[in-house]
Symmetry: none
Subunit: 237 residues, 2 copies
Amino acid sequence: MEEQNKKILLVEDDPNFGTVLKDYLMMNDYDVVHAKNGMEGFEKFKKDDYDLCILDVMMPYKDGFTLAKEIREKNTDVPIIFLTAKAMKEDVLKGYKVGADDYLNKPFDSEVLLMKIKAIMQRKATDSVVDSKQFEFKIGRFDLNSKLRFLKFDGGKPIKLSPKENELLRLLALHENDLMPRELALTKIWRDDNYFTSRSMDVYIAKLRKYLKPDAKVEILNIHGEGFRLVINGGES
Amino acid sequence: MEEQNKKILLVEDDPNFGTVLKDYLMMNDYDVVHAKNGMEGFEKFKKDDYDLCILDVMMPYKDGFTLAKEIREKNTDVPIIFLTAKAMKEDVLKGYKVGADDYLNKPFDSEVLLMKIKAIMQRKATDSVVDSKQFEFKIGRFDLNSKLRFLKFDGGKPIKLSPKENELLRLLALHENDLMPRELALTKIWRDDNYFTSRSMDVYIAKLRKYLKPDAKVEILNIHGEGFRLVINGGES
DNA sequence: CCTTTTGTTAATGTAAGGTTAAACATAATT
DNA sequence: AATTATGTTTAACCTTACATTAACAAAAGG
C-alpha cells in the first residue's frame, strides 16, 4: 500500500529562498506547493487539502498572520509553522495566538525544520475523532451541514450558523450522546481555556439550545464540572 | 470551570533560575514540582503523573537527554520541553529524536514559554479522552454510568450523580460484595483521611443509600471501623 | 454504661452554569 | 468614509449544583 506523501503549502515571497526550501522539502518526500505571497497562498489553500502550512511572516499584500487567520477560519486543525527574519517577541506571541504550532527564526537549519515537521505530523497522526473530516450530521429532526454552516429542520429552510456556533455544534455531534468535555471545545475552538472563553462558550450553548428547541427530543445537557452532552431521546431503539 | 491545575515537572539545577521559573509558572496556575538534578527528576517523575516536563539539558549526574529517554520508557505521551544555554544544532536534533515537543534557548522570554506550554497542552487535550477504565456497572436493577455520572433504575430516567457520589459509588461497585475500606475512599476521592473528610463520606454513603432504595436487594453495609460493602442479595444464585 | 463510630438531616458557602444585554470588532454595503 | 449587518466577547445578575460542616440520634463494641 503506497501511502500518499504529505502535502505542504509553503508561502514565501523571497523567490530564491522559497525555491531552495521547496526543493529541499521535496527531496525529503513531501509534496510542496509554493505560493509567492499571501493572496496566492490563500487561493491555493482553498483549492486543496494540506497537511501543513509553512508561512513567512513578512510578505507584501498579505502578511503571514493575516493569512493564518484566514486559514484558521476555514480549517481549525492544519498545523502552521511561521518563518520570520527577526525574533520579535510580539510576533511570536501573535503567532501562537493565531494557533501556530511552531515558530522558526531565519536563518534556521533545514534539518531542524525537518525534525519539527516530523514531530508535528506525528502528533497529528495520533489525534482522534476530533479531527475527523465528518461534516454532515443528523441530529434528531435536524440536519447539520458543517461545511456550509447551516442547520435544517425537517428539510425546511436552512438556518445559517456563525463559525463558532457551527464548530461547537459539530463537536457536540461528533460526541453524540457522550460527554463532550468543556476543555476540549475551549482548546479546539477558542484555543484558550480561561474564565472568559468559558463564559463565551456558555453563551454559545444557550444559542444552540434555542436553535434546537423545535425538536423536543434533542437536548444539550450539562455535566457539572465536566462538559456537555448532546442527547437525542429515543434515538437508539 | 477552573478544574484541576496542570502538573509540571521542572528539572533545573540552577537554584536561582529554577526557583524563579517555578514561581512564575505557579503564578500562572500550574502546579510545579522542582527537581534539582536528573536523578531527583526521575524519582519525582515515577512518583506522580505529570502533564508536562521541562528539562534543563546540562545538569550534573544525569543530563536532560538521558532523563528524557528514561521518562519516555515509562511514558510515551508526556510532552517534554528542553531548556538549553547554547544553541547547538546537534543538541536540538538529539532532543527531537528523544521526542521533544519543543526547544527553548536560554535566556528566553517567559511569556513565550507560557504560550508554548499552552499550545502543547492544547494539542494533548485531544487524546486525553482515550482513557479505558471501567465506567459502567450493573448494580442489581440499576445501571451506573460513571463517565456520564448517572444512575438508571430499570432503564428509567437517569438520576444525575454529583462527582463525589459518582466516584464513591464507583469505588463500591469495583469492590462489589467485598470490603471497600474507608481509608481507600478517603485517600482516593477526598485525598485526605481525617475526621472531617470521614464525616463527609458518611454523608455521601447516606445519599447513595437513598438512591439505591428502590431495589431492596441492593444494600450498602457498614463494617464497623473498617469500611463499607456494596452487596447485591441473591446476586449470584 | 460510656466512648467511639456511624447515620441522617439541615444550614452554609462557594463554584459552575444559564440568560440577557451591552460593548466591541469586523466585514459588507452604500 | 459612513453606515449596517454580523459575529464575538464581556459584564451583570440569577439559579442551580456541590461539598463541607454542624447538630443530634443511633449502633457497636469494649
